[in-house]
Amino acid sequence: MATTLAEKIWADHIVSSNPGEPDLLYIDLHLIHEVTSPQAFDGLRLAGRKVRRPDLTIATEDHNVPTLNIDKPIADPVSKLQVDTLRKNAAEFGVRIHSLGDVDQGIVHVVGPQLGITQPGMTIVCGDSHTSTHGAFGALAFGIGTSEVEHVLATQTLPLIRPKTMAINVEGKLKPGVTSKDIILAIIAKIGTGGGQGYVLEYRGSAIRELSMESRMTVCNMSIEAGARAGLIAPDEVTFEYLKAKPHAPKGADWDAAVAYWKTLQSDQGAKFDKEITINADDLEPFVTWGTNPGQGLPLNAKVPNPAEISDAEERGAAERALTYMGLTAGTPLKEIKVDTVFLGSCTNGRIEDLRQAAEVIKGKKINEKVRMLVVPGSARVRLQAEAEGLDKIYLDFGAEWRTAGCSMCLGMNPDQLTVGERAASTSNRNFEGRQGKGGRTHLVSPLVAAATAIRGTLSSPADL
């Protein structure tokens, strides 16, 4: 029978399947960070359990860590305790950890792929909803809560109910200046923040095949913003090429066996998806959000919508609340919105390609005098690579701040936060109220739009320069 990619990976990981029960699925890789793991390790200790497979587990410090002065102890004692707790737990349970200052430290979803431990056909989990990022390799990867973190630590499995499948066909060719961030923002605006609920999304079509691995990760990363726990892209030569030289990629005969298996990881011709939608890539423009959920987005050339023109009462109410929170007036062209801060970074857009793209736009220019710009590489290795290419110089000459790796202002758990009423153009993934700091206002954008906005001081694309 013709099956989808998600169904194939699922079938390959069933440990036990009984009618009336969730399937018990084997987990190939468990990524851990400081915020969602301490209570899980406590649970193991209370029950006298061990980590079943430390060799399929890896930890790093990202959510809570400062991006300045990382050679000094973490100033916030509560953050410090949480990071210290992770270190203690990793040592006690024999889990590999990449701590602040380590060359392999960074945002967990940047670290996995760059180490090559993210590979096609795997099941990957982490106590973080953006685990969907790893789906770009054709892995079934999804975020879990702390109870599930404990379950995976103890058993290397999870009981799960099989999700439905949705194909998202992105056909055509992107115009210059339009990126994978714009693709995913347009998809979320189309299907809504709950549109993917209960589904695994599979991104397909000619525009997806054209994307680099890093751009594919941006798309899969934000599957959760459409309500889907996981998003997938079938592996191809682009995937294999990316993986080949990575430290943990299979070697020799294992490589050949792996590639032979990976090549089978495609949805069969005629496979039936529970739902299918199509997006025309030719029509896409740079996209920005205007509201307080990632589905409230529009092309940059549009105007702030008028809630009175929205027919659905629920959506109308949400739009009214969003405009009040965002301090926006209906009918204002989006390009006239002034921003205070530009944030370039996160697991969505903090990889080397993102830093290169934005640097290309700002090279030789000066930042708008009313704007501050934070550039936070997704990992220590991304930072070192960027510095080797001289990108740090470009950002510093421009007038931006060049920081060390972490989640930083994406969620404002560390000192990198917006203040009340401060407005940001951000390459991150969530524009929720207060997400980047209490009272802060977020517009989600691509790295190209972030860079152009830092120059002009209003939401802009490179074409406006």
């Binding site: 953050s79 949480q82 290397q156 499995t157 709950g194 913003e225 109220e433």
Partner: protein, 199 residues
């Protein structure tokens, strides 16, 4: 986990859609390393507004949260479930929940009940008319009851059984641990390992 059969309490009507987990518990409150003490951060930003429903005396002591569509979107933080439980909530009712939030609730013993949007609104109306309206959520008969109304809800039999028996998932999986070992023996040799560390 405590056994869960039925719960009767009053309602906090949260008439908003897309209540994401950053609103339920903002990131700055996530630094705790315990599962308790998160009640202070529940709806941390919204609570500054004295008009916010959680601050209204007529709803104090409510144990059933009834919210708009797409409750619990965003971050996978189980802290959102703990914050609701720490504050005293036993049940959340909405017309649609985000997958991860719902999964977390079911693991931690916070009952999430999906009702059609018009039934959610009917409860809001009843509570607006009388904030002391008591609602019973009965897991055994899979129904929500208040006044003379009885509304059936769906929940998969496995989760329902687990909640009613107060069973812990890890304990259940441990009974199948031999099957896990058998699966591991057959895994392909090219699958990556994190140890020894290569970089």
């Amino acid at each position: 986990m405590d056994k869960y059969l039925t719960h009767t309490g009053t309602v906090l009507p949260l008439c908003r859609s897309n209540v994401d987990t950053d609103q339920i518990i903002p990131a700055v409150y996530l630094k705790r390393v315990t599962k308790s003490g998160f009640e202070d951060g529940l709806f941390g930003a919204w609570r500054n507004d004295p008009e916010f429903v959680l601050n209204k005396p007529e709803f104090s002591g409510a144990t059933i949260l009834v919210a708009g569509v797409d409750f619990g979107t965003g971050s996978s933080r189980e802290h959102a479930v703990w914050a609701l439980q720490n504050y005293g909530f036993k049940v959340v009712i909405s017309s649609r929940f985000a997958d991860i939030f719902r999964g977390n609730s079911q693991k931690a013993g916070l009952l999430t009940v999906v009702l059609p949007q018009e039934e959610v609104e009917a409860i809001w109306n009843a509570v607006e008319a009388d904030p002391k309206t008591t609602v019973t959520v009965d897991l055994e008969s899979k129904s929500v009851k208040y006044g003379d109304k009885k509304i059936a809800f769906e929940i998969d039999d496995y989760t329902r059984w687990r909640l009613m028996e107060g069973l812990d998932d890890i304990g259940l999986t441990m009974k199948k641990i031999d099957e896990v070992s058998a699966f591991e023996a057959k895994r392909a040799s090219f699958k990556p390992k994190t140890l020894p560390a290569l970089s």
